[in-house]
Amino acid sequence: MKAPLHKSRIEDDIRVRAYYGKYIFNSHFLIFLTIAAGVFLYSLLGMLSMMEPSIYLDIIAALLMSFTLLPKYRPLLKEADVLFLPPYEKHMKRYFSSMDRYSVWLGIYLPEIGLAISLLLLRVGHPGWVMALFAAMSVLLYIMAFLIRRDAVNSPVSQNTVISLLIIIHFVSLLSLLIHPAFTILGLLLIGGLYFWVQKKQHKNLDWPKIIDYEASMKQKYYQYVSMFTNVRQASKQYKRRKYFDFLLRRPKAGRFNKDHMYEYLFRRTFLRDNDLPMIILRLLLIFSVVIIWVDQLVLSVIVLLFALYVIVLQMSQLYTAQAYLLWPKIWPVKREYIQDGYIRFSHKMIFMIALLLAVIFILLHPVYFYIAAVFPLWGYMLNSYFSKNVYKKERLLSD
C-alpha cells in the first residue's frame, strides 16, 4: 500500500537531512565541535565561578533565548501541489498536523542548547524555582512562536515582521520574568496578543501559492546552510553585480587574454558576484575572529584558525563544481585541465589573502608568538591543494 502523503514527504525530508548530515558532521568537524564545546564550557564555567549576580548575565540569557526560540514551520509542499491539492484542502488536517509535529521537533536542538547555556548563566544569583519558571516560559514561548510563525505564512503578515516581533517579545518576557517573577503575566499577555493578531489576519482558505513559495524559500535556506559545508546540487545560485568590486574584475592584459587565463577571469566574477558566497566567507571570518578573541588562548586560537581555513576552503570548492559541469567548457576548444588550473590559481590567491588576514588577527592577539602565524598560509595552501584534487577526482568519476 502506498504511504500517506505526509509520511512520504517527511521520510523524504529526513533522508535528505541524513544524506547531508553525513557530510556536515564528518570526523574533522566532530573533533572540532568537541574541542570547541569543551573549551567553551571550560571557560564559561571558570568565568561564572568568579562572577557576582548581575543584570548583564540576565540580559545575555534573555537575548540568547530570544534568538533561539524561533522554530521554523516546514509544510513540505511542492510546486505541483497547487494544481492537485486545493480540492482536498478540507481533508488535509492529518497532513498539516503531521507537518506541525515534524516542524516543532526539527529545530528543537537550538533552543535546547540555548536553554542549557542560559540556565548555566542564571545559576549565578537566581534560585532554582526562578530557573524552572524561566525554562517553562521558554517552552511556552517556543510553542507559541511556532503557532504564530505557522499562521503568519497564511496571512499578509511578513515573516520578517513576525520574527522581529517575536524576538522583542521573547526578550521582554524573559527579562521581565527574571526581574520579578510576577511579570510573567506581561510576557503571557504580549505573546497572546501577537498570536490573536496574526490569527485575525489569517486568510479563510489556504493561500497555496504563498505557502508553496514559503516552503521553497525554507528549502533553499536549508540548502544554503548545508552548502557552507559541502556541495549541494539543489541549491540554486543567484548572482548580483557589486559595482564596488568591479575594480577587482579588470580584463587580463593583452598577453594574458587567452585560454590560460579565461577560467580565472570567470572564477573571479563567479565569486565576487555570487549572492551568498562572499558574505558567507565574511561571516565565517567574523565568527572565528570573535571565537579566538573570546577564547584568548594560544593553542586554541591556532586550532580554531586552522579549522576556519578548512571550512573556507570547503566553501570555495563549490565554485569549481558549479563551473565544471556546465555546457560551454564541454564545447569550447579548451582542455578541461584549464578549468582546474584556473581554479587552483584563483583559489590559492583567495585562500592566501584570507590566511594572511587571519594571521594578522592572530599576531594582534598573540604578538609574542607572531612567527606561528606563518603556519596559516601554509595550511591554507595544503588544504586547498588536497581538496581541489578531491573535487577533480569526483568530477572525473562522474564524467566517466
Binding site: 548572482y239 555546457l327 564541454k330 569550447w332
Partner: protein, 250 residues
Amino acid sequence: MVLNIEKLTGGYSKTAVIHDISFNIKAGEIVGLIGLNGAGKSTTIKHILGLLNPQAGRIEVNGIEIGEDTEEYRRALAYIPESPILYEELTLNEHIDMTIMAYGLEEGMAWERAEQLLKVFRLDEKGEMFPTHFSKGMKQKVMLICAFIVEPDLYIIDEPFLGLDPLGIESLIELMVSERTEGRSILMSTHILSTAERYCDRYVILDDGRLLVSGTIDELRDGLGMPGASLDELYLSLTGGAGSNESTPS
C-alpha cells in the same frame, strides 16, 4: 569534407536512439537536419559536438575524430543550442570576452566583428548588462553573436529561428548566407521547412532515429517521384503524415 558521419549509432545509455546514420557536409553548404520531435536530431547533434560517445560508427570534422585532437576538432565548430545557455554572472561583453579567449581569436579583430554583430542584433547598448535579464529572443541573439564571432568551419544551429523576432530571423538568414559565401558550412536542425527550403542546399531527413533520405530538393523530388513538390509535401510523404515516435525523446 567539413563533416563526415559514417554509420553512426548512439544514444544516451546502452539503448541506441539513432541507428546507422551517415551523411556529410561540404565546405560552403547549408544542410537542414529535419525530423519530427524525437526523430534523433538533437542526439545526432550531441554526438557531433562530442557530448555523447558513439556506440558505433565515426564522426570526422575536417578529417579528424574528436579523440585524435579534441581541441582542433572543437575549434572547427560553433554551437548554438535551441535554448540559450548563459552564465548568470557574466555581462554580455564578458560572454564575448570568454568566447574570444576560448577560441584564441585575435582580440582586436574579434571585438571589431562583435561590435558589428551587436549592431546587427540591436544589442550594442546592452554590453554591460547581464543577459540573464534579457528576453528569450535577446538571449538567443547573445548565443548567435558568440558563435558568429568565432567564424568556424562548421556552425551547428539547433532550431535557429526559435524565439527570434522577424528582424532577428532576417539578420540571422543574412549572416548564414554570408558565411556560406565565405566557404563556411552550417548544419541546422529545424521544423520550419519553408525557410529551410529557401536557404538549405541539402537536407538530411531523420525519422525514428534512422536516416530516411538525404540530398538536394531536386534529388528528393526525383527519388519520391514528386516533381515540383515543396519540402513540406516531400516530408509528409516520407513520414506518412506523422512520425512513428512522436513521444520518444531525441
